[in-house]
Amino acid sequence: MNVQDRRRLLGPGNAKPIAFASSLEPETEPLKAEEVAKKDGIPSLSIKSDIIENCNGSTLIESDEFSIVTSVYGPKSIRGSFTSQGTISIQLKNGIVEKYQTNELKEVASWLVGIFNSVVNLEKYPKSGIDIFVNLVIDKTNDISKLIPFIVMSTCLALVDSGIEMIDLTTAAEIDGNVISFTKGGEEIVGFWKDNGDAVFNDEDFTSILGRCKEQYINYKSLMVNYLLQGKKK
């Protein structure tokens, strides 16, 4: 509340509360990982969830081209006036190599907020903020449009991992620089992003691009579902 409150002494960083001798069994299972075969231009992906200890949910998605870590913090209290629903904030961060300019990353981040505002069940989280951090650790693609589908995917999986309620799983697909993010099995678009090239939206091209994106989205989504359900069985 006031400045002094924030500066409370927190004790040493590794201080732990007393754990009573009960349920807490150390997790012995290895982290879940899944390799997915290469098909239809989908790069082979390795997905791991629950990799960061002190956040509510996290996901690592890797392929030959990139490695993206997403962590979800919250819902936690926010300051300021009353809000009857949750507020999402997303931050994108360059890896070691400063590939993208900050304002470009912020533009992508605010675009992503739009997507997740429409799929997260925000009414459940009054007065709270959900903070999402996306770290583009390795990126050899040099084109953020190619990366966006996986940023959306990893954010979505991290949200599932954190147990935040979502109306639908969403992920994006990229064809010729057109990035489309779908929900409801491809019936609805929640986000569209195009940075390069002309829009050739005569009826035929539009239908074909939409169809191919939808197909890719369905592939990605079944990948996510498989991963989630498999992790659940273990």
Binding site: F82, G129, K232
Partner: protein, 301 residues
């Protein structure tokens, strides 16, 4: 209960579980109308099917589906008055495979039986596999009516300011309340703290929990106007309280006006002394020194 067997067992966010209404005939040839309502981890959403819009219950979490019966829907003489008794009588949960012919709960209306079923999604418990309460952190934000455990941070004549440590019977999210109740190790400038100080003003400070306040007239149920906060709470006390309302932007409004609500842990001499024990509902005593202090205590049992 053949209906429920074709429900998906394990669901992921966005997966359809069931329609809002369903019907079935039992052995006696009676119609049973099931009305499904949303529990935790589900949401009623509209789906466009051909040209009509259908409402269906959709999962919003990853986990197992659980179907339990809600208490009594009454239909009296054609007049449709639905009364759900929410607050009293916790009837034992009827999970899908248990014996559901609990006719006492089922009101007959002509030859039709209406049963209200609550569909919820139970998450895996990351921390303890065999927990008795199914409560991964999930959605444990304090709601109206919830019992919360709080710590008093500041008192004034009119109110006591508290921070909410936990919602009773719910787990604490891994990242919240570092310094007050968390167990994780936080790197300097890590987590969301990094963003809060400079860029986004929306997210909370690292280690800051939800705040609440107990107004003096909400401390106890009797003689509300004569309550002295100083004789009820001291900073550092652990107080069990109930959420009255979501309050304003900063604070939840809480009350301790019930026998089982009030101070549960307190240390003597403003925290310098030892742990005290409740003598009666407004006195606590430190066994080592024998000195008593005034508090609004919660009934321990």
């Amino acid at each position: 209960m053949s209906n429920f067997s074709n429900f998906p067992k394990v669901v992921y966010p966005g997966q359809l579980i069931c329609p809002e209404y369903d019907t079935e005939q039992n052995k006696e040839g009676q119609d049973i109308v099931y009305r499904f309502i949303c529990g935790n981890g589900t949401k009623l959403l509209d789906y466009k099917y051909n040209t009509t819009t259908v409402k269906a219950i959709t999962a919003t979490l990853l986990g197992d589906v659980k179907v339990e019966e809600e208490i009594t829907v009454r239909n009296e003489g054609g007049e449709e008055s639905e009364e759900k008794d929410k607050d009293i009588d916790e009837t034992p949960d009827i999970i899908e495979d248990s014996d559901a012919n609990n006719s006492s709960e089922v009101e007959k209306f002509s030859d039709r039986i209406i049963r209200v079923m609550k569909v919820s999604v139970v998450q895996d418990n990351k921390f303890s596999k065999n927990a008795l309460v199914d409560d991964k952190f999930a959605n444990n934000l304090p709601k109206e009516g919830d019992i919360v455990l709080t710590r008093v941070t500041r008192i004034s004549l009119q109110r006591a300011n508290v921070e909410i440590l936990a919602v009773e019977n719910q787990n604490v999210p891994v990242d919240s309340g570092i310094g007050s109740n968390g167990s994780g190790i936080v790197a300097a400038c890590g987590g969301s703290g990094a963003s809060t100080f400079s860029v986004s003003q929306v997210s909370s400070d690292l280690g800051e929990t939800f705040r609440g306040l107990i107004r003096s007239q909400d401390v106890r149920a009797t003689e509300r106007d004569r309550v002295k906060i100083i004789d009820s709470f001291k900073p550092g006390d652990i107080v069990r309280a109930q959420v009255l309302s979501l309050g304003d932007g900063t604070n939840y409004y809480l009350t301790t006006a019930r026998n089982d609500l009030g101070v549960v842990f307190a240390k003597a001499a403003n925290g310098a002394g030892g742990l005290m024990y409740a003598l009666d509902w407004q006195t606590m005593i430190a066994p080592s020194t024998g000195i008593s202090e005034k508090r609004k205590c919660a009934k321990p049992f």
